[in-house]
Symmetry: C2
C-alpha cells in the first residue's frame, strides 16, 4: 500500500471543474485526472440505473489511470451511484460531494437551509436523510432546479436572466425563511454572483471548498506534476467554457467507455 499518489475526478461535464478549481487552490501540484462524461451530459435528468452504469465505467478507467482517490465531483452521481461505487471498488477511497457538505451543515446552529439540485439529486433525498441523521435541528428543504445547468452551459451567466431564473425558483414555498443556501450541483457555485444580487441575509455555502478540504485530509502522496484531462465527447461548447470560465486550456483527450 503506497498511499494516495493521484486523484481522479469525474462529472458529466463542466460542473466538476468547480471542485477541481477549489482542489487546485488547496493541493496545487498534485497529479489529478479529470474525466468529463460529456457524451452522457446531463446526468441530472437520467435514471439511477443509467448513472450507476456510466459512473462504474469511469471509475474503472480512473483506477486504470492510477488514481487511488476518486472525487465523485457530481451531485447526481454522488446521490445515485455513491454507494454502488464504494461497494464495487473497496480498494479505492471515494469522496463524494454530498457528505462533506452534510458534515458542514450539521455543525451549523439550528436554522432552515435551502438546497438547490438536479432532479436526480433531489429525488434521492440524500442530503436530507444524511443531515437528519446527524442534526435534526438544521432543517433542509430541497428544490429541483434543472434549468440552471443548461443556463450556465449556454453562457447566460451575468446576463440578468440567470438571476431571473434563480429568483423564479426561489419563489417556491419550500425556500421560504431559509438562512443558508447550498448549491447542490457542482455547476451552481458559478451562480454565486447572481445569487448575491437577489438574496440578502442568506449565506451561500461554498460547497467546492468544503469538498476540497475533505479531499486534502486524505492526501498522503508527494506533490508532483502530471494532470490529465479526458472527455467522452468532444464538444466546442465544453472546450470553450472550460477555457473561458475556468482558464483550463488543456489538451482534452477523447476516451469513450463502454456503458
Amino acid at each position: 500500500m503506497s498511499g494516495i499518489q493521484k486523484i481522479g475526478l469525474f462529472d458529466s461535464g463542466l460542473g466538476g471543474l468547480t471542485v477541481l478549481r477549489a482542489l487546485n487552490k488547496i493541493l496545487p501540484g498534485v497529479p489529478k485526472v479529470y474525466y468529463g462524461d460529456t457524451l452522457h451530459l446531463p446526468y441530472g435528468d437520467k435514471s439511477d440505473a443509467a448513472i450507476i452504469g456510466y459512473s462504474t465505467a469511469i471509475v474503472q478507467f480512473l483506477k486504470d489511470e492510477g488514481c487511488q482517490l476518486i472525487v465523485i465531483a457530481c451531485n447526481s452521481a454522488s446521490a445515485a451511484a455513491g454507494k454502488a461505487l464504494v461497494e464495487q471498488f473497496p480498494e479505492l477511497t471515494f469522496i463524494n460531494v454530498i457528505d462533506p457538505v452534510v458534515d458542514y451543515l450539521a455543525a451549523l446552529p439550528p436554522q432552515k437551509v435551502g438546497l438547490l439540485g438536479t432532479r436526480a439529486t433531489v429525488r434521492s433525498g440524500a442530503y436530507s436523510q444524511k443531515l437528519a441523521a446527524k442534526n435534526s435541528e438544521v432543517e433542509l428543504h430541497a428544490l429541483a432546479t434543472p434549468l440552471l445547468v443548461p443556463l450556465i452551459e449556454d453562457g447566460f451567466l451575468g446576463t440578468g436572466i440567470d438571476a431571473s431564473v434563480l429568483a423564479h425558483y426561489l419563489k417556491d414555498p419550500a425556500m421560504k425563511g431559509i438562512t443558508s443556501l447550498v448549491p447542490g450541483c457542482t455547476h451552481y457555485p458559478l451562480l454565486e454572483e447572481a445569487a448575491a444580487s437577489i438574496l440578502s441575509g442568506v449565506h451561500w455555502v461554498d460547497a467546492p471548498s468544503i469538498v476540497a478540504q475533505a479531499v486534502a485530509k486524505h492526501w498522503t502522496g508527494e506533490h508532483s506534476e502530471g494532470n490529465a484531462f479526458y472527455l467522452s465527447d468532444r464538444t466546442d461548447n465544453f472546450l470553450r467554457l472550460a477555457e473561458k470560465t475556468f482558464g483550463i486550456d488543456a489538451q482534452w483527450e477523447l476516451v469513450r467507455l463502454e456503458d
Copy 2:
C-alpha cells in the same frame, strides 16, 4: 413491395411529439411507432459521430418494428445523420424535418428569414445550404439557441422567462430585419405563444404541419390502429410533459439499444 403501412418517428426526447401531433391531425388512425431517446437527450450538443450512432440503432429498431417510412423528427439528427441513414437503409423512405421546410421557404417571396436551432443544427449549415441551392433570394440567418430545449423541458413555458430568453436570443445582430422565423428544432413550436408576445410583423413558420404534409404525401397504406411508444430511459419529467403538454397518456415501453 406492400407500400407504406406503418410510420416510425424518433427524436432525442419530447420535441418529436410536435411532429407526431401534427401528423395525428392529418393522418389519424395510422399506425405510428415513436422512439424517444431520452437516455441520450439532448442530441443538439453532441458530436455528429455520436448522433449518427444513436440514430442508426433507432432506425434499425423501427425497421424491425415494421416501419417502412421513418420521420427523423429531430433537426439535429436530420442535419447530422440524415444522409448517413438514407445510405445505410436504402429500403426505407425517410422524411427529415429540414427538407420540407426548405421547400416551403424556397417558395416564399424574397425576404430575410431567421432560423433558431440547436448548436448541432446550426453548425451543420443544412438549412442554409439547401435553401441557397433552391432560391438565393430568400436569405437565411441561423442562430444557435441551446437554452430553449431545457427551458421547455423544465416547465418554463408561459412563465414570462421563456419570452425573456427568446428576446435575449433575438437581440443577436443576425436576427435584425427578419420577416419570417423558423423554429428549427422540434421543441421550439411550443414557444409559439411566447414568440407572439415579443415578435410583431414576423411570420412564425408552422414547421410541424409542413413536415406532416410531406409525410402524408407518402402514405399509401390502410388506416388502422396500433400505435406504440418507446423510450431509452424512463424519466418522470418526460412522462409528465408528454401527458401535460401533448395529452399522450400512453404506455411508454423501455427499450435500450446498443450504441
